[in-house]
Amino acid sequence: MRSSSKVLVTSAVCLLATACTGQSSSSGGDGGGGDGERLVYLVEQLEDADSLSRLEDHLADFTESSGIEVEVQQLDIDTMRTVLQTRLRAEDGPDVISWGSGPSFAGALAEAGLLYDLTDAYEENGWEVYDFAKERVTYDGKVYGIPGEMETVGLFYNTQVLADLGIEPPRTLDDLRAACEAISAAGVVPMAFGDQDAWPGSHLLSMALSSAVGADGMEALLAGEGSWESPEVVDALTFWQEANQNGWLGESPVSIDYDTMTAQYLSGEAAMIPTGSWFINDLAVGADFESGYVPFPAPDGEGVFAAGLGSGPLISANTDDPEGAIELLDFFASEEHGEWSVENLQTIPPRPVDTEGLEIEPLLAQVLDDVSTLSEGGGQLGYNIDVLMPEAFNEAMFDGIQALLTGQSTPAEVAAAMQAASQA
C-alpha cells in the first residue's frame, strides 16, 4: 500500500507539474525574440500554401543578409482577433505581427501599450511611405508600424461585355444607371455583389460616398466633423437601394458570400463588380477576359477611388529583440520588398514603385501608377470607411446596409443608426 501510495503521489505531482507548466520553448525561443537570432512573425492566414512558401523564400533572403531567422506563424483572422492581445502580453509572444492599421486594430493595441514605438526608427532608417499612409499608423503622435499594403475600392468591369453592348465605362451615376439598364436588358447581371459577409456592404458606401463628397468630405465625416445623417450619405445609400430594387446587384445579394460574388464576375455571369484592388490577384488567376478598373462614379462627374490600408508589420512592445525586429521592418520598408510584393502578391505598397521591368498584369500597373499619382498630390483619394472607424460604428454600418438591401430599413434609418453609433 505504501509503495503504491508513493507511486500515486509521484504520478499526481508529475501530472500537476505537467498541467501547470507551459509549453517550453525550444532553444532560440519559440517567440519573444529569445536570443536575438530568431524572430517570430505572426501573420493572418495566407491564401494558400504557395503564398506561404513564397513569403518564406522571400524571408530567407532577409535571413541570408542579416543572419536573423524568421519563423512565420499564421492564424485565421477571427482567431487572431481573439487571441492577439493575449499573445502580445505573453513572454513567448510574436516579435513582429502583421495586423490592420485602423483604430480598432493597431490603434487599440497601441493604446494598450502592446506595440513598440517606431518614431525614432523611422528617422534613423529613413523609411519612405506616403504621408497619408504614415498618418494611419500614427497614434498620439507616435508611429507604430509600417503600412504594409494599400487597397483601393472601385468598379471593375468586363471590357468585352461592355464593348459588345456599346457601353463606355461609366463616369457619372447616370452613366452607371444607363449601363446597368442596358446590361440587364441583355440578360447579364449588371454588378456581381454579395453581402452575406456584411463587410462588402461597407465598400458600397465607401466608394459611393468618397466619390460624392471627395477626400475632404470623407475626412470631415471620419473625424466626426460631418454628420452621417447628411443628405450625401443618405443619397449614397439610396443609390444602392435603387440598384438592389432594380435587380442590378443580382438576385438576393445578402444571400451571397464574397467568394460566390467574385465567382459570378469571373464566370462572366456579371458585367461589373464593385470591390477592391485585391481582386486583381483573382483576376490574374481566374479570369479569361480582360477587365478595366475605374473609380465609382460621382453624382455629377468622375469619382475617386476609396483607399485604405491593409495589414502591415508592427513590433510587439514585449519583444526581446527590438533591434532584430526593426531590421526586419527595415527589410519590409525597402524598395526591393515593395517590388517583390507587387510581383508576388499583386498588392500595392504604400510607397512609389517603379513598375517598369516588373512582371505584373497591366491592370495592376495601371492601379500602381494611379495610386502613386494620387498619393503624391496629383488628385484625390477617398477613404475606405471600415478600416478607419471603430467596430461599433462598423457593426451599425454592416447591419444597416444588410437591412437596406433586405428592405428592413430605409436609407435615412441606416444613416441615423450610423450617426448614433459614431457618437456612442
Binding site: L15, A112, A198, E251, S255, I256, E391, T406
Partner: protein, 324 residues
C-alpha cells in the same frame, strides 16, 4: 480542537499491533490509508476540474462585474451595470426571442421526426444498420461542413432548393433563403433539425429495441389502436431515454452558436442573431468582453434549471419502473 471521547464500555478486542479495529472489521489505520488513497485518486480530477472548470467560471463571474475590453489589465468595477444594460438591450431581447424559437422548433422537430423514423424502422431488421448509419451521419459531420453545404443548397441562383422548387413548378417560392430576414432563421433551423434528427433517431431506436414486445402484443389483442399502443405502452417504456434526448436537444437550443455563425453570422441585419452569436460578437468583435461574458452566463443560468428539471423527470421515470 477537543478530542472525541472514547466509548465508555467499548469491548476490548484483540487487534493488530497498532490501532483498533472498526466495527466493519477494518482497522483505523487501514481506513486512514484508504482515505488517503481516495484523496490521491480523486486529486487529479479535482485539480483538473478546478483549473479547467471552477477557475474559468469564477473568472467569468469576475468579468461580469467589471468593464473589461480585452486590453485594460485593471478594468473598472461596474457592479451590476452589465446586467442593467442587458435588460435594456433590444438586440439582446431579439436574440433571446430567436433562441426561444430555436428551442421550441429545434427541440420538437428532431424529437418528432426522430421518433417517427425510429418507429418506422423499429420492426425492420434487414438493412437496419444501413439506415442507422445514414440517418446518424449528419450528426457526426462537422457543423462547419454542414453549414457550408447547406449554404450552397440554399443559394439563390444555383442552390438545389430553388432549382428543385422550379423543377416542380413552385418557382414562385424560390428566394435567397439565407438572405431573406423572414426565412433565414428557419432555413438555418431546418439545417439544425436535419442534423439533430439522426441523433434522436438512433437513441430512440435503441430504446425501442428494449420495449417489452409482449406488452405491445397484449395491448394489440386488447384492441388498442396504434396511437393508443404508442401513447400507453411504448412511450412510457422509452420515457427516460426520450427525456434524456429531449434534455440534450433542448440544452443545445440554449447554447446554439456554430451553425448560425457559419451559415449567416447572425445576419441579415441580426435576423438570425441568437444569444450565442450575440455574446461572441460583443466579446470578440466589439471587444466588450464583460458584456459578452454576462450574456454567456445568462445563457448558462437559463439552461441549468431546465436541465436539472428534465434530469429529475428522467430519474422519476426510471424509479417508477418505466424505461427501456
Amino acid at each position: 480542537m477537543t478530542a472525541a471521547p472514547a466509548p465508555a464500555a467499548a469491548p476490548t478486542v484483540p487487534g493488530p499491533r497498532r490501532g483498533r479495529r472498526a466495527r466493519s472489521g477494518v482497522s483505523e489505520a487501514t481506513r486512514r490509508q484508504q482515505a488517503r488513497l481516495g484523496v490521491l485518486l480523486v486529486a487529479p480530477a479535482v485539480v483538473l476540474m478546478s483549473v479547467f472548470l471552477v477557475f474559468p467560471v469564477l473568472n467569468a463571474v469576475y468579468y461580469v462585474f467589471v468593464d473589461f475590453d480585452g486590453l485594460d489589465t485593471t478594468p473598472p468595477f461596474v457592479g451590476l451595470d452589465n446586467f442593467t444594460e442587458l435588460a435594456r438591450d433590444r438586440d439582446m431581447w431579439a436574440a433571446a426571442w430567436n433562441n426561444v424559437i430555436w428551442i421550441v422548433l429545434g427541440t420538437i422537430g428532431p424529437l418528432v421526426l426522430g421518433l417517427a423514423m425510429a418507429l418506422l424502422l423499429w420492426g425492420v431488421r434487414r438493412g437496419s444498420t444501413f439506415y442507422r448509419v445514414v440517418f446518424f451521419l449528419p450528426y457526426v459531420l462537422p457543423q462547419v461542413a454542414v453549414g457550408v453545404v447547406w449554404g450552397w443548397i440554399y443559394a439563390p441562383t444555383r442552390g438545389w432548393l430553388n432549382r428543385g422548387l422550379e423543377a416542380v413548378g413552385l418557382g414562385g417560392l424560390a428566394r435567397g433563403w439565407l438572405g431573406d430576414p423572414h426565412t433565414a432563421l428557419y432555413a438555418v433551423l431546418g439545417t439544425a433539425i436535419w442534423t439533430a434528427t439522426g441523433f434522436v433517431f438512433v437513441i430512440v431506436l435503441a430504446a425501442l429495441r428494449n420495449v417489452a414486445a409482449e406488452l405491445v402484443d397484449a395491448a394489440m389483442l386488447d384492441g388498442a389502436s396504434y396511437l393508443q399502443r404508442l401513447r400507453y405502452v411504448v412511450l412510457p417504456q422509452i420515457m427516460p431515454v426520450f427525456l434524456m434526448v429531449t434534455a440534450l436537444t433542448l440544452i443545445g437550443g440554449f447554447a446554439v452558436f456554430d451553425i448560425v455563425f457559419v451559415m449567416t453570422g447572425g445576419g441579415p441585419a441580426n435576423a438570425t442573431e441568437v444569444l450565442g452569436t450575440y455574446a461572441y460578437s460583443n466579446a470578440f468583435q466589439l471587444s466588450r468582453i464583460s458584456y459578452g461574458t454576462t450574456l454567456a452566463l445568462v445563457v448558462t443560468a437559463l439552461a441549468v434549471p431546465v436541465a436539472v428539471w428534465l434530469n429529475r423527470l428522467q430519474r422519476r421515470a426510471s424509479t417508477e419502473g418505466l424505461g427501456a
